[in-house]
Symmetry: C2
Subunit: 111 residues, 2 copies
């Protein structure tokens, strides 16, 4: 995860940047709690928080990072939870950018 | 809408605060673009934005208001869109609080 979290997103457009299942599984092994979406085209994780303030703070931290990396998640949030989904539209599935951003999310929460 | 947006959420717990369908339809008539969710227990609206910065700014403005009113939406957002859902868990459906908050969202966007 450390190595992934140190990388930055790069323009990754076109099917040549789509990751194969072996690579996806290897990268998911570095990201506890993250899993492949049912369609195989995204990675997802649920995060729990004690209240809406903390949830909103998390969304902002993720959003700041996402803007900085110019790669943006889908966010599904409520009072004390936030579900993140990373996918790379330009490759029609998963690129390394998705795993870099997931690792950067984990880095935000590391203790 | 103006009157609704001037009100503040109050503790509304218990089925006596659940609104009936006639009242819901009347209040929805004051909130352009808002509609009843399929299960009849929430009101929803999709908002579109030009980019993620604007979407995140909107989420923050809504979140600040939600914290201030102590009533919190479900938020489903991506790069240029944000779907809001208001419901009152404590009444098992819709209370006046949901419409007050929807009107306050509209007030944020009024020109």
């Amino acid at each position: 995860m450390t190595d992934l979290a140190r990388q930055h997103c790069q323009p990754r457009k076109g099917p040549e940047h789509a990751l194969d299942r072996t690579t996806i599984d290897d990268l998911l092994g570095q990201l506890p709690g993250w899993s492949l979406a049912a369609d195989g085209k995204a990675i997802v994780k649920d995060f729990k928080f004690d209240d809406f303030h903390r949830t909103l703070g998390f969304i902002n931290a993720v959003g700041f990072m996402a803007n900085h990396e110019d790669h943006h998640p889908d966010i599904d949030a409520g009072y004390g939870h936030c579900h993140l989904l990373w996918s790379t539209h330009d490759v029609g599935g998963l690129s390394l950018n998705d795993f870099i951003c997931a690792a950067r999310v984990e880095a935000l929460l590391a203790r």
